[in-house]
C-alpha cells in the first residue's frame, strides 16, 4: 500500500544516484580504478583522509570523554553553565564554525595576533594549516558526539553497580577500570565511529584550512571541476565505501549494547574535597566555557566590523551596522537568505511526509522487504555529502524516461532534493524512536472502536510520532539551512544558499559581510530550534488540557 511509493521515492533519490556512481566508476572497466590506484595525489588524498579521520577520533575522545565524566560525576561551581555550553559547537553550521576558527586562530586571527603581540614576535606563532589545523577544528565540533554518547551511557549506568564495587572494597580507580569503562565501551565505540564517519566526509575544514592538502572530499570536487568524472566516481565510491563500512560497524556495536539496566538510581555527583581542587575547578570550567563560546562570539563581533578595515590589527578597528543594513536592503544580498529558507522548507516538508510513512512502516508493520527500507533510510547518513551531491549531479543531468531521469542539474530543485536526501536518516530515526515508545495495541484499539484508518492515523499514530518528527525535522532543517558540502557541487547562481554567499564574501575579503551572513545563519538555527520547542510545547499542552 504505502510501502511501495515510499520505497520508490527512496530508491530513486538515494540508491539510484549512488549506484550510478559505482557503475560509472566501472564504465571503462577497471581503467579508472587503476588510474586512481596509480595516482600519487589520489593515494595521498586517501592516506591524508584516513590520518585525519583517525586523528579526529583520538582528539574528540581526548576532549569528550573526560568532559562527560566531569560533568556527570563531579559537582563544582559553574558546572551548570559548562553543561549548557558543552553542546554548543554542534549547533554551529560547519562552514560558520570553520570561518570562526579562521577569525580566531587563522594567520590574521584574533588569538594568533594576540599571542604574537603578547610574546613580542614579529610573525604569527602558528599557521592554521594542514592536518593539525583540520584535526583541531574537528576536535572542537566533533567532541560533542563523544560527550553526548558517553554522558548518556553514564546516566544509564546502574548506580548500584558502582555502590556494589565500592562496598566490595574497590578503589575509585579499580571500579572505573573494571566496571564503569567496560560497560561504557559500546557508547564510547559508537561515538568513535560516528566521529570517524563525520571526519571522513568533512569538507569545510579541509577546503578552507587545507592549504595544499588533499583529502578525498576535496579531490572529488576538484576532479569534477576538471571534468574527470570517471575519476570522481572512483574517488566517491572509495569514500562512500569507507563510510558505509564504519556505519555497519556502528550498527553492530549498537546491537551489542545489550546489558539490561534494572534500576536507575539518581546520579550522585561527588563533591570536591581538596581546597585546591575547589579553587581550580571553577577556573578551569570558566576557561572551557570561554573557549567554547569564543567562535560564536567572534562571528558576532566581526559581523559588526567594517569590510576591508581589519588588516593587521589584533581586533577589527572599525565597527558599523552597515553590514546588516545592507543585508536588509540590498535585494541581491537577500536572495541567498530567501533561497536557503525556501529550499529548507521544501526539503523538510518532504522529509516529514516520507519519513513519517517510512517510520510507521518500519515500526508498526511487517512486510517482506522491510529490511530494504531500513537500509534505505540509514544509507544517506553514511554516504558523505560530497558523494550524495556527485551522485545527484551525474544522475539527474538529463531527462530520460527510459532510465527514470529528470533534468535537475542547473535547476532550482536539485538542492532541495539533496537536502531532502541528507535529512532522511535524521527524521526517520527520530520518528522511529518515538513510535517505538507507543504501545502497538493502541492502533488496534482505535480500529476496534470503529475508527477509520485516517482517523486512527491522525488521532493516535501521528501524536505518538510527533515528538520524534518535530525533533528530527528540526535537525534536518538546521542541517539544510547551513548546508555547504553538497551545495558547493550543485548550486547555481540563482539558487545559491547562504553558505555559498559566505564563501564568496570571504573570497572578496569582505569579512564583515561574511560574518553578518553567518550571524543570520546562527539566528536561523536558533529560530528553528525555538519554533520546534514552541510547537511541541503547544501541542502537548493542548493534549494535556484534553486529557484533564
Amino acid at each position: 500500500m504505502f510501502a511501495a511509493p515510499v520505497l520508490l521515492v527512496l530508491l530513486w533519490s538515494v540508491v539510484y544516484p549512488n549506484l550510478s556512481i559505482v557503475v560509472g566508476s566501472f564504465e571503462h572497466g577497471l581503467r579508472s580504478w587503476r588510474e586512481f590506484a596509480s595516482s600519487p595525489t589520489d593515494l595521498e588524498a586517501l592516506r591524508t583522509t584516513l590520518i585525519i579521520a583517525v586523528g579526529s577520533v583520538i582528539a574528540a575522545v581526548a576532549v569528550g570523554l573526560p568532559l562527560a565524566f566531569l560533568l556527570t560525576r563531579v559537582d563544582f561551581r559553574g558546572r551548570r553553565v559548562l553543561s549548557a555550553v558543552a553542546t554548543l559547537p554542534a549547533a554551529l553550521p560547519p562552514l560558520v564554525g570553520v570561518v570562526a576558527f579562521l577569525f580566531l586562530y587563522g594567520e590574521s586571527g584574533v588569538i594568533t595576533r594576540g599571542v604574537q603581540a603578547l610574546l613580542g614576535l614579529d610573525h604569527a606563532p602558528w599557521t592554521l594549516n594542514g592536518v593539525g589545523a583540520i584535526i583541531f577544528v574537528h576536535a572542537y565540533t566533533m567532541y560533542v558526539y563523544v560527550f553526548l554518547f558517553v554522558s548518556a551511557g553514564l546516566e544509564r549506568l546502574d548506580t548500584s553497580l558502582d555502590e556494589a564495587a565500592a562496598g566490595l572494597g574497590a578503589s575509585r580507580w579499580h571500579a572505573l577500570r573494571r566496571v564503569t569503562l567496560p560497560l561504557l565501551t559500546p557508547s564510547i565505540a559508537g561515538s568513535m565511529l560516528l566521529v570517524f564517519m563525520s571526519a571522513l566526509g568533512s569538507f569545510s575544514a579541509p577546503y578552507i584550512f587545507g592549504g595544499g592538502l588533499r583529502v578525498l572530499s576535496t579531490q572529488i570536487v576538484a576532479s569534477k571541476l576538471n571534468g574527470a568524472m570517471d575519476l570522481a566516481y572512483v574517488e566517491t565510491t572509495v569514500l562512500a565505501v569507507g563510510a558505509i563500512a564504519a556505519l555497519i560497524l556502528l550498527r553492530w556495536f549498537e546491537r551489542r549494547r545489550t546489558y539490561a539496566v534494572s534500576t536507575k538510581g539518581t546520579v550522585v555527583r561527588a563533591r570536591l574535597h581538596s581546597p585546591t581542587a575547589r579553587l581550580l575547578a571553577p577556573i578551569v570550567g570558566a576557561i572551557l566555557v570561554v573557549i567554547l563560546i569564543l567562535p560564536h562570539a567572534m562571528v558576532i563581533l566581526v559581523s559588526f566590523a567594517r569590510d576591508g578595515t581589519w588588516t593587521t590589527q589584533v581586533l577589527p578597528p572599525e565597527y558599523t551596522l552597515d553590514n546588516f543594513r545592507r543585508l536588509a536592503t540590498d535585494s541581491d544580498l537577500l536572495v541567498p537568505i530567501w533561497n536557503s529558507v525556501s529550499m529548507t522548507a521544501i526539503a523538510t516538508a518532504l522529509d516529514i511526509v516520507v519519513c513519517f510513512v517510512a517510520a510507521y512502516l518500519l515500526v508498526l508493520r511487517r512486510f517482506r522487504v522491510r529490511w530494504l527500507l531500513a537500509i534505505l533510510v540509514a544509507l544517506p547518513w553514511a554516504i558523505p555529502g560530497t558523494a550524495i551531491a556527485i551522485g545527484l549531479a551525474s544522475t539527474f543531468d538529463r531527462t530520460s524516461l527510459a532510465s527514470a531521469r529528470v533534468l535537475l542539474v542547473g535547476t532550482f530543485w536539485i538542492l532541495p532534493l539533496a537536502y531532502f536526501v541528507r535529512g532522511v536518516p535524521l527524521v526517520s530515526s527520530a520518528t522511529e524512536g518515538s513510535l517505538r515508545q507507543m504501545d502497538p495495541s493502541l492502533e488496534d484499539a482505535a480500529r476496534g472502536l470503529g475508527a477509520s484508518w485516517w482517523l486512527t492515523m491522525r488521532r493516535v499514530v501521528l501524536p505518538a510520532a510527533r515528538p520524534g518528527l518535530v525533533a528530527g525535522a528540526m535537525l534536518a532543517a538546521i542541517t539544510a539551512v547551513g548546508e555547504f558540502v553538497a551545495s558547493i557541487v550543485l548550486f547555481t547562481h540563482a539558487n545559491r544558499p547562504i553558505s555559498m554567499e559566505i564563501l564568496s564574501q570571504l573570497r572578496n575579503f569582505a569579512f564583515g559581510t561574511a560574518a553578518a551572513f553567518s550571524v543570520v545563519l546562527i539566528a536561523l538555527v536558533l529560530a528553528i530550534t525555538l519554533a520546534a520547542r514552541w510547537a511541541e510545547g503547544r501541542w502537548s499542552r493542548a493534549e494535556a488540557v484534553v486529557i484533564q
Binding site: E163, A164, A166, G167, S171, R178, Y259
Partner: protein, 352 residues
C-alpha cells in the same frame, strides 16, 4: 546477647532530606556478634536509608555507626569492608559469575588463582557449585540472589547488610530461600542486618526485629515480643493482625465492654500505659468460639468466612458495631450464624 560487647552499634542516626520531618530520626540499635537483625517498616519508614548509612553510602546528619567500639561513621564504603547484598543484586553484567564473586578479592589485590578458588568455594557454599563460568544473564532470580550473597560473603565481612534480599523472588521460592538464608548465615556465624517490608520474611530469618515508622524506631525485640507485647499502638497495628478495642486498665488487667457484656482480661501492658482508658489488642489467634452457655463470651454474628488452609479466618460482628477477627480450626461455622467468642489466650496486650 547479654554480657557480650555489641558488635555493631547504631547511635542516634539521623538523616534529613530537606523536608519537614527527618527520613531517619535518632535511630539507635545494638547488634551482637553473630546476630541476625531485621529492620522492618512500611515504605518511607526510613529503613533503607538507615541501612545505607550503616553501609556508608549515605552520610548521617547526626549520630554515629560503631564497629567493635570504633567510630566508622566517616569511613567511605570501600574502607568499611561490609558485605552488601542489593535489592536488585547489582551483579556486574559484563563479568562471569565467578568473576563477580571474586571481585571483592580482586579489589584487595589477591592473586587470580587464589581468588577464583575462594570464589568457587563461596559458590559451593550457596549451592551453586561449578557455576563460576556462567553468564549473569543466564541466571534465574534465585540464582542471582545466591551469587550476590556469595559475592558479599567471600570477603569475610564483619557485618553483612542486605537490602530486601527476598523481595524479588516469587512466593514459593521465597519460602525455601529464606530458610536457606537463615541456615547459611547461622552456619557462618555472620552478623547481619537486613531490611524488608515483609514481616514473615523478617520473622523467619531474624533473631530480633526492629520496627521503624516515619523515621523513628518504635520497638526492638524478638518477633514474639513484638507480637505479644507491642510497645505502642503503631506496633500493635503493624505487626500481625489484630482488633483494637477500648477498655479500662487498672494496672494488671483490662476490662473490655462489648455490647453490654464486660469481660476482665489479664493484661500485658506496654510501658507507660496509665490507669484508666486504654486499648486492648485482641489477636485473632487469641480468640475462639465457645459453646452458647460459655461464660466470658461475647455474642456476635458471623459476617465473613475465609478459608486459608490450616486455619479459617472469620469476621464476627459483636455488639452490632465491632468486627472481631477470629482464626480457628473450626470449620462448620457459616456467615450469618450467631456465635459466641471468647478470649482463649491471656494475657492480652494493652496499649494506650
Amino acid at each position: 546477647m547479654s554480657g557480650a560487647a555489641p558488635h555493631l552499634v547504631l547511635d542516634r542516626l539521623t538523616r534529613r532530606f530537606g523536608e519537614a520531618r527527618p527520613a531517619v530520626n535518632a535511630v539507635s540499635l545494638e547488634i551482637a556478634a553473630g546476630e541476625l537483625v531485621a529492620l522492618i517498616g512500611a515504605s518511607g519508614s526510613g529503613k533503607t536509608t538507615t541501612l545505607r548509612m550503616v553501609a556508608g553510602y549515605e552520610t548521617p546528619d547526626a549520630g554515629a555507626v560503631l564497629l567493635d567500639g570504633r567510630d566508622i561513621t566517616s569511613l567511605p564504603p570501600q574502607r568499611r569492608r561490609f558485605g552488601m547484598v542489593f535489592q536488585h543484586y547489582a551483579l556486574f553484567p559484563h563479568l562471569t559469575v565467578g568473576q563477580n564473586v571474586a571481585f571483592g578479592l580482586e579489589a584487595r589485590g589477591i592473586a587470580r588463582r587464589e581468588r577464583m578458588s575462594r570464589a568457587a568455594d563461596a559458590l559451593a557454599g550457596v549451592g551453586l557449585a561449578g557455576a563460576g563460568g556462567r553468564q549473569i544473564q543466564s541466571l534465574s532470580g534465585g540464582e542471582q540472589q545466591r551469587v550476590a550473597l556469595a559475592r558479599a560473603l567471600v570477603i569475610e565481612p564483619p557485618v553483612l547488610l542486605l537490602d530486601e534480599p527476598l523481595s524479588n523472588l516469587d512466593p514459593t521460592l521465597r519460602r525455601s530461600t529464606r530458610e536457606e538464608l537463615r541456615a547459611t548465615l547461622r552456619r557462618l556465624g555472620v552478623t547481619a542486618l537486613f531490611v524488608t517490608h515483609d514481616q514473615e520474611d523478617a520473622f523467619a530469618v531474624a533473631d530480633r526485629v526492629a520496627l521503624l515508622a516515619a523515621g523513628r524506631l518504635l520497638q526492638v525485640g524478638t518477633a514474639e515480643t513484638l507480637y505479644d507485647r507491642p510497645a505502642n499502638r503503631d506496633v500493635a497495628t503493624f505487626i500481625g493482625r489484630s482488633t483494637l478495642v477500648p477498655g479500662t486498665f487498672d494496672g494488671d488487667s483490662i476490662t473490655v465492654q462489648l455490647g453490654g457484656a464486660a469481660r476482665r482480661l489479664r493484661a500485658a501492658p506496654a510501658p507507660a500505659v496509665a490507669h484508666g482508658p486504654a486499648t486492648a489488642v485482641l489477636r485473632p489467634d487469641a480468640l475462639g468460639f465457645s459453646p452458647p452457655d460459655g461464660i466470658d463470651a461475647w455474642t456476635g454474628v458471623v459476617q465473613e468466612r475465609r478459608f486459608a488452609g490450616a486455619l479459617l479466618a472469620y469476621r464476627v460482628r459483636v455488639a452490632g458495631d465491632i468486627d472481631l477477627e477470629v482464626h480457628s480450626t473450626v470449620r462448620d461455622v457459616q456467615p450469618g450464624d450467631t456465635v459466641n467468642i471468647r478470649v482463649t489466650r491471656e494475657p492480652v496486650a494493652v496499649v494506650s
